[in-house]
């Protein structure tokens, strides 16, 4: 038994020493680990884009549109629109008018003899006319009539104010004001201020069609003598009135001559803006000027100095036969109607064809539209919701021929180093199925800052490019009419090494350069037709080797 106890103690000691030694070794081995490293190979599709010219076009322009013909062929449009609201014209100034009533000695004698009187006074005021307006009626949307009375007569006074031409639901505006003198006032005048909301009133300024700009009003003054109070020639009943029309629902009458629109316009052709070389030929582009007018007023227009401006800042004048001189817009004769005027400018009546085929970046023109230009008095009307809308569309039809037209798109990018560490290599697989009738030679160039020798200035230098040479996405096959008969597949594979990836990450700008050329007939770029169902399918997949190593 004793031996067994010794053995057990020995075993215990052996165990402790062995455990300590083994444990220390293990801990030393594990504590030497300072980080982890993992190498992964991922294969993932990255991009799956399927676009037609419609999407491409809309993505590179902001004010562009696409119209589809019944055969699904596409017309590109550039649109500008100017809208003028009815409330912007015929500003009606406030109409102030005052009235002062005093008694002569004879009137005072008669007043004291009869102990009172009733007096009716009629008068009118004229609406100011800044532009020669001859207004017949105004439907008031918001406005007010204010009256301030200062009465020094020491008697009981009543005044009734009436505007026969200012009606709401056929009832003229009328108000009655009673002023009773009390001896406690002494010589202090009685002062009254009133304000009336004129919203909803119709102001007849024509006295039933016989005149214009006229505001008729009527006062009935009744005064009852307070016996014992004195009456002097200095006593007065003074009325200070003001009519203010802020907004109107409609105004009728001759509205005078005033400028409707006077502006210099510049319409950008973004599709050509980024072009750096080559040519785009468009067969018969159109300029469609369409004006919708619900102003009941004759308007005369003039478009001056129409020209396109190329990327090299060269102006090419456009001569348009219908706009050589002034022209008039249709206008409605019945309230609520809209009259439309439209002019189509093409190669038949202008040199627009030549101008657009210069691949301009802008079309510029000056607009000058004037109402009642000849000052012939006739009835006009404008509603507050009347609109004068001038739409000018440039329509680029489907038949185009592109000859080595090169586009440069510069894109700023943030300089990033965050993901660089993990990417060891990316093998990119690119496949394009081109159903569009254009070759597209694409290159993406990454640019980075480089410090000049003076150590202060920097210039952009090429850090890397995605392709060794521009990658050709070959055009779809076309028939002799320029219609696509089959799409073309192009594939490309490139390896982006860690070094290249670092260059790309460190770049601050990348330029996408695309050179396009129409599908060829007999070896030469041809006029081709673009349809909505012609698509470019672009797929990008990658086999990426990622190495993560903790620091």
């Amino acid at each position: 038994m004793k031996t067994l106890h010794y053995c057990l103690k020995a075993l215990l000691l052996f165990t402790i020493f062995t455990f300590s030694a083994c444990l220390k070794d293990t801990i030393d081995e594990l504590s030497a680990i300072k980080g982890v490293k993992v190498t992964s190979n991922y294969s993932l599709p990255i991009i799956d884009i399927n676009v037609g010219m419609e999407e491409i076009y809309e993505s590179i322009t902001q004010n562009a549109g696409v119209k589809k013909n019944p055969d699904n062929s596409i017309i590109f449009t550039f649109n500008t629109s100017d809208t003028i609201g009815g409330s912007e014209f015929v500003a009606i100034p406030p109409v102030p008018f005052d009235f002062n009533f005093q008694m002569s000695p004879a009137v005072i004698a008669a007043f004291e003899f009869q102990n009172g009187f009733n007096l009716t006074l009629k008068d009118s005021a004229k609406l100011p006319s800044a532009s020669g307006e001859l207004l017949e009626s105004i439907a008031i949307k918001s406005g007010s009539f204010t009256i301030a009375i200062n009465n020094t007569f020491k008697h009981r006074t009543k005044i009734v104010i009436k505007f026969p031409g200012l009606t709401r639901n056929g009832v003229p505006l009328q108000d009655s004001i009673q002023m009773n003198y009390e001896s406690s006032r002494g010589s202090a005048p009685i002062i009254v201020n009133r304000s009336f909301n004129l919203a909803g009133y119709i102001f007849d300024l024509s006295r039933n069609g016989t005149t214009n700009n006229t505001i008729d009003f009527e006062y009935v003054i009744g005064m009852e003598r307070i016996i014992g109070n004195t009456t002097t020639t200095g006593d007065a009943l003074a009325l200070s009135q003001n009519i203010t029309i802020n907004e109107y629902s409609n105004v009728r009458g001759y509205l005078g001559r005033f400028p409707i629109l006077k502006a210099a316009e510049a319409q950008k052709f973004e599709i050509f803006e980024k072009g750096i070389s080559g040519k785009v030929f468009i067969d018969n582009p159109k300029l469609v000027v369409r004006v919708s007018n619900s102003f009941g007023i004759p308007i005369t227009g003039r478009i001056n100095n129409i020209r396109v401006t190329t990327n090299q800042d060269v102006d090419i004048p456009i001569t348009i036969a219908p706009f050589q001189d002034t022209f008039t817009f249709n206008y409605p004769t019945v309230i609520g109607q809209t009259a439309v005027s439209e002019w189509v400018i093409d190669k038949s009546n202008s040199n627009l064809n030549d101008a657009i085929n210069a691949s301009p970046s802008f079309i510029k023109y000056d607009l000058d539209f004037t109402s009642n230009i000849n000052n012939i008095v006739r009835e006009n009307f404008i509603l507050d919701n009347s609109r004068f809308i001038a739409n000018i569309d440039v329509e680029v039809p489907v038949d185009v021929k592109i000859v080595d037209y090169e586009i440069l798109q510069s894109n700023k990018k943030s300089v990033s180093n965050t993901e660089v560490d993990v990417v060891d290599q990316m093998k990119l697989y690119i496949r394009a199925k081109n159903g569009l009738p254009f070759d597209v030679f694409t290159q993406i160039v990454f640019l980075k800052d480089s410090i000049l020798l003076n150590n202060t200035d920097t210039i952009l230098v090429v850090a890397d490019s995605l392709f060794a040479s521009p990658w050709p996405i070959l055009a779809a096959q076309i028939n002799s009419q320029g219609n696509v008969i089959s799409s073309t597949e192009s594939v490309f594979t490139t390896i982006v090494t860690k070094k290249r990836f670092e260059n790309i990450q460190a770049s601050k700008q990348f330029n996408v350069v695309s050179r396009m050329r129409s599908s060829a007939i007999n070896g030469e770029p041809a006029f081709v037709r673009i349809y909505t169902d012609q698509k470019l399918s672009l797929k990008l997949a990658t086999d990426a080797r990622l190495i993560y190593q903790s620091k």
Binding site: T15, T26, Y42, S43, L44, T542, D543
Partner: protein, 454 residues
């Protein structure tokens, strides 16, 4: 220095608990009350046993499967960097897993009533199993390139974390050669987190330009854990659901019942066979429950589309895949969790009055996973009140182990200590189990009539 201590703890703990680890040594220390946890038909030598609160049963078990610390050491690509790819290639079995079990008894008392031995106990049980699938780790370590043209079906994570209070009353009776015992258990659930068939399928097309497809399936159930997502079936969560609330842990609305049953039979005077079924039961979780279900949600993508480029939503390419993982249907129904039942069968041969050879077969279920072990043990009664036992176990899921146990009694105080794998002391870098059970009992009445084995 602190790092070394942490590593020491890691080294110990990572070896300390076993994936579905079996108690293979405790069974042999028949003179401890705790051996009846393995078979309620075991008749204790000491007629009366009282457990000192908490100290009577301290059980810590930590098991790691699928890798050893040596695998980590061998995966260093240089002296200082752990190469995850190398490590992933060394994973054996279905993946890497960790199990932590911590048990303690609040009290126990065992005493005879007539010819019956009656025991009552109450204790806290905590089992936490996490397993990361081998393919899942391999997939994310090595990438999907390896799976080109195939679907990688990945089980990303298996969790079984169960915390509850166990209250039991057992009755055992000796009928000449046969003894039988049963223990009824009443469980009070504290918290649970468990997954059920959680899987993620990732299809990598043969043609690089074709879409990859990701599909998720499975279920995650929790109780006592705050809501993990933003809404419950469309209803926005409130702050109460968002915050951890300790009251949820002891609300004791999660009730369950279980059963242990066993027998022993003396085939010969010195040969006894025994068998038992323990932890057969379940807990129904009703308090603060959440069921997250991923039912075949699929996301397919062949890359960033024109629309995504055009509306600056390129980030959605990744988001759509990530959202798949959180795009789950969430309900609040109650659910039931079965305990990890164990099955034991064995035989003891007392070849002297002091020496016993034993054999024990043990099985333990964890969902569809059944782990089994075969243990050969030798137990010697060193003196009147001192037992030593050692064993060798073959386990189908972890490395074979050498266990050791001892129970000593001084006066009424009985001290016992058990470890199921002593080799961790000599090979901490190769062993996966740290198993330690120790405790202090107060024992009275040496019931030699019952204990006739020695």
């Amino acid at each position: 220095m602190m790092k070394k201590y942490l590593l020491l703890i890691l080294t110990c703990c990572s070896n300390m608990f076993a994936w579905a680890q079996h108690d293979v040594t405790l069974t042999s220390l028949r003179r401890t009350y705790q051996s009846t946890y393995m078979n309620p038909a075991f008749m204790p030598q000491y007629g009366t046993s009282v457990g000192i609160p908490v100290l009577s049963n301290i059980f810590i078990n930590n098991t790691r499967v699928g890798f050893t610390l040596q695998d980590i050491i061998d995966s260093k690509s240089n002296d200082t960097t752990l190469d995850i790819n190398t490590f992933a290639s060394k994973i054996s079995g279905d993946g890497i897993g960790f199990q932590t079990a911590i048990n303690t008894d609040l009290f126990h008392v065992s005493f005879p009533i007539g010819s019956y031995q009656v025991s009552i106990h109450s204790g806290i049980r905590s089992q936490n199993n996490q397993m990361f699938g081998k393919d899942f780790i391999g997939f994310f370590a090595n990438g999907n390139e390896f799976f080109r043209g195939r679907t990688a079906v990945l089980e990303p994570l298996r969790i079984y974390s169960l915390n509850y209070v166990e209250n039991g009353i057992s009755v055992a009776k000796q009928f000449r050669k046969l003894s039988v015992g049963v223990r009824g258990k009443y469980f009070q659930g504290i918290s649970v987190t468990k997954t059920e068939n959680l899987s993620l399928s990732f299809f990598t097309p043969e043609n690089r330009f074709d879409p990859v497809k990701v599909t998720t399936n499975g279920k995650l159930q929790t109780s006592g854990i705050p809501l993990l997502l933003d809404s419950v079936t469309g209803q926005p969560r409130n702050n109460d659901e968002k915050e951890f609330n300790a009251e949820n842990l002891y609300a004791f609305n999660n009730n369950g019942f279980g059963l242990d049953a066993g027998f022993t039979y003396k085939v010969l005077r010195n040969l006894m066979v025994h068998a038992s079924l323990i932890d057969f039961g379940s807990i129904t979780w009703r308090n603060n429950t959440y069921n997250y279900t991923l039912s075949g949600n699929e996301v397919s993508t062949s890359g960033i589309t024109y629309d995504q480029v055009n509306d600056n939503s390129v980030g959605r390419y990744g988001d759509s895949l990530l959202n798949l993982l959180v795009d789950s249907k969430i309900t609040r129904e109650s659910f039931k969790t079965a305990l990890q039942s164990r099955y034991l069968a064995g035989a003891d041969w007392d070849f002297t009055k002091r020496d016993r050879l034993g054999f024990l077969f043990q099985g333990r279920s964890f969902g569809s996973l059944l782990t089994t072990s075969y243990t050969a043990s030798y137990t010697r009664r060193m003196s009147t009140n001192w037992d030593l036992t050692a064993n060798y176990t073959i386990n189908n899921y972890i490395k074979n182990t050498v266990g050791f146990g001892s129970a000593v009694k001084w006066g009424p105080v009985q001290l016992y200590i058990v470890s199921d794998d002593l080799l961790v002391l000599f090979q901490p870098n190769l062993r996966n189990i740290v198993y330690l059970r120790l405790g202090l009992n107060l024992v009275f009445t040496n019931n030699l009539k019952v204990v006739t084995n020695y």
